[in-house]
């Protein structure tokens, strides 16, 4: 080539200079476990379904959600959302309203008539599911997804278990419950109502390959209270159960509820709605010791329910009760003080917890029962091979969400067991902690509050107390998700690299590093908002 005066070399590109050789550490894309997912008892991939809701693809979001939990409309109402307690956004402003988005998706699915789609080939196996509460429904759903025929035997005249006979309507409207159960029946779950199983081994012989027990805990615990004849002492389970029958329970003008759990709150709020002038909760400890969830206590107080802390009921008279004041000792346990007080009461409702009716398991060899709970292994199998159990009968943390999680876990274990294998869950990613993120990049965005029913209507009707979000609110709320530990294609790594060593692969495909030129400065790691890149030392 003819070169100009004083030029001796052809021009070259710096691409010949592979600066990647300078590197001592290399960046790598990772997926970390978002704290919401880690906290979800039902094992939902929350960040995963919010990702689709963020772009407005609600059906895809619902499908991603229902891979783990078939009851989003129910869950969006009754779940105590431990996910939100784990949410990293709480360190920026307030947790993402995951529960309200879940409810939006669940309601949207009912409105639009979205159905589950089958995936696995039919196995020909039949699995009996005893009880149609959340554990049973979840197990049946996941068994169906895995190709097995799930057959539910339910003793009651209606399906839903404690979701119908324990949770009041103002928290869970029955149309929602019915719709989500019907969708499972449409999916292929066989549901037999008023079919009580009295001897599980006998029933199993009728062509079933395995059984999942989710019979719940329906027997109210009692406490001995000396009572006059005229005073009515009832239990919470039957009060709430009777609410579903034609005959609403007669509780009178002044109702005392004894206990400090969510059930006690539910009964007191129900009594108020039935016309009681006064509903008083008597609890032997203090508010911070109360097992009921804070927001439920708050809602109850708003509705005019009063709570007597540090009190026990000594006796129930004709139209009043005697309570004894308690004081906490140095270990935080309540001790009687000898101080008494009489309060007016037409009825006393005991909400002191529930036990499981285990009579159907008589004569089953190998079962271990401890403190009224049936003992299961990691795959929810009892001591008797092929008999699995979950939900309230297998644990003390008695929530719908835990039960749904048990049902899923059991279904996977049953599936493996039917093939003569043991289910091994995939290893979990490390948690995407807040320290691993760069919160600078998230816009300020306050939490969207759900509309709450007027107090006046909460005192006389069973209308749902907490409203839902509309579409724009739900999408806004979804977009508050910080996508902890999982790339959401913000282009930051691609943009901040001084060496153009990040390759953009296109929508949905993410990015990859060009290690020929990456000098390992770590800027992409530091500026990744969600902590989805890590550095690892170079080997040589």
């Amino acid at each position: 080539m003819e070169k100009p005066f004083a030029i001796t070399l052809n021009p070259g590109s710096s691409l010949a200079n592979h600066t990647g050789s300078w590197r001592t550490v290399r960046p790598e894309y990772v997926s970390r476990l978002p704290p919401c997912n880690a906290a979800c008892p039902a094992g939902e991939n929350i960040q995963g379904w919010l990702f689709h809701a963020e772009s407005g693809d609600y059906e895809q979001a619902w499908r991603a959600l229902t891979e783990n939990n078939p009851l989003p409309a129910i869950m969006g109402r009754v779940c105590y959302h431990p996910c939100e307690n784990g949410c990293n956004r709480q360190y920026v402003d307030a947790s993402v309203g995951i529960n309200s988005v879940e409810r939006f998706l669940g309601d949207e699915a009912i409105k639009r008539g979205w159905k589950f789609a089958t995936q696995a080939p039919i196995s020909g196996k039949r699995v009996l599911v005893v009880g149609s509460g959340p554990a049973g429904l979840s197990a049946a759903y996941h068994l169906t997804r895995l190709g097995h025929q799930a057959v539910i035997y339910e003793a009651a005249e209606l399906a839903g278990g404690m979701m119908r006979f324990g949770i009041p309507k103002y928290r869970l409207p029955r149309e929602v419950l019915d719709a989500e159960i019907q969708r499972l029946v449409d999916f292929g779950v066989e549901l037999h109502l008023q079919t009580k199983v009295t001897n599980i081994l006998d029933t199993l012989k009728k062509g079933f390959d395995a059984v999942f027990l989710g019979v719940g805990a329906h027997i109210a615990k009692r406490a001995y209270i000396p009572a006059g004849d005229a005073n009515k002492v009832l239990d919470a389970v039957s009060v709430l159960h009777n609410m579903e029958d034609a005959s609403a329970p007669m509780l009178g003008r002044k109702v005392v509820v004894y206990g400090g759990g969510n059930t006690a709150i539910d009964v007191a709020r129900t009594a108020k709605r039935l016309g009681a002038e006064e509903a008083i909760i008597v609890y032997r400890r203090t508010r911070d010791k109360m097992p009921a969830h804070d927001f439920e206590v708050e809602e109850a107080l708003q509705e005019g329910i009063s709570i007597k802390w540090l009190s026990t009921i000594k006796e129930a008279g004709e139209s009043d009760i005697m309570i004894e004041k308690m004081a906490l000792d140095e270990n935080g346990f309540p001790q009687p003080t000898g101080e008494f007080e009489r309060i007016e009461a037409d009825s006393v409702v005991l909400a002191l917890g529930q036990d499981t009716d285990l009579s159907l398991l008589d004569n089953v060899p190998g079962l271990i029962v401890d403190k009224g709970l049936i003992q299961v292994d990691k795959g929810m199998m009892t001591g008797h091979p092929g008999v699995f159990a979950g939900g309230d009968m297998a644990n003390n943390e008695r929530t719908v969400t835990v039960a749904v999680g048990h049902g899923k876990k059991a279904a996977r274990a049953i599936d493996a067991w039917l093939r003569g294998e043991t289910y091994a869950p995939p290893p979990k990613h490390e948690i995407a902690t807040f320290e691993r993120m760069n919160p600078w990049y998230y816009s300020d965005a306050p939490k969207t509050m759900r509309p709450v029913l007027d107090i006046i209507r909460r005192q006389s009707t069973f209308d749902e107390v907490l409203g839902g979000l509309d579409e724009s609110n739900a999408q806004f709320e979804a977009r508050r998700c910080m996508s902890c530990g999982n790339c959401f294609e913000c282009d930051n790594c691609y943009g901040v690299c001084p060496d153009n060593a990040v390759i953009k692969l296109g929508p949905g495909k993410g990015f990859k590093f060009n290690y020929d030129y990456c000098k390992g400065c770590g800027m992409c790691v530091a500026e990744c908002p969600c902590g989805a890149i890590r550095t690892v030392p170079e080997e040589n």
């Binding site: 998230y442 965005a445 977009r479 294609e489 282009d491 943009g495 770590g522 800027m523």
Partner: protein
Amino acid sequence: MSFQPVKFYQTGTFTVGNRLLPPEERSVQASGKRFNSINSGHRACQGCGEALGARYAIDAAMEATDSQLIAANATGCLEVFSTPYPETSWQIPWIHSLFGNAAAVATGIAAAMKVKRAKGKVGDVRVVAQGGDGGTTDIGFGCLSGMFERNDDVLYICYDNGGYMNTGVQRSSATPAAARTATTPAVGHDPGNVFGQGKFLPAIAMAHDIPYVATATVADLRDLEAKVRRAMEFRGARYIHILVPCPLGWGTPSHDTIKMARLAKETGIFPVFEAEHGEVKSVLAIRRPLPVEEYLRPQKRFAHLFGKSPAVATIARIQALADKNIRKYRLQARQESH
């Protein structure tokens, strides 16, 4: 604000892009087809703020001028690490002459392009001159001031890293007070660079009443791109001063380059604003106010302020300078809009 903030999309305006944004609302840097005006394989240090700032600015200028762009470069890091003869990282027409004459060279190119265009030989070719703070505020200042007062049709971009970094970190007139450099060692009664010396060139540029003056940092990409775009809407002399942290000279980890620029802006140490015809038109308000200590402490060039007995009085003097910036340019934090 120099640009319309993006409505809330998870990350809004702050990230480079976002899958939820329509392509036209993303930054130039988010595009898979961006120019990469300065290519891979350049010899800048790990985490170089100047290499990043130059790509941000020149890519935006290429976009704004439909790729009809010529750059003149002063001597300095940017020239040395990008173009060791005969190899170059630049993917645009680019020329280097001397340390101090980039503005004058650019003026000449602009004049030549004007003539060629009048003769119908070229289209509307725009000219950029660029250099570091040494080539701009010290050595090239005479040529630059001349370019300003003649109102030549050139955009001059200064990448300010606060010193002569590629020759071993010597003081420039843009080195901040108290900073340790090779020529202002951290010894004696008042260690580091002297208070009350140096200059803030954006204010001097504004004093020339040229059409457009702006400051920016590598931590605010949207703002930087909007300013380059705006600058290209004017004819005449324009000046953009970009703060580009230098891991080597500042003594910061290579991964903290953008963080340091962000801290400079958030503490008020470096005011981010734009001015037209000598008047401030908009400022980038502080989002999360921080004391200057947060900015100083991570930098080894200020390490002598934080020994066993911290130099409280010196830190207070630096804080006073930041407070003055906040007052003067009205940088107070305000409510973020979504």
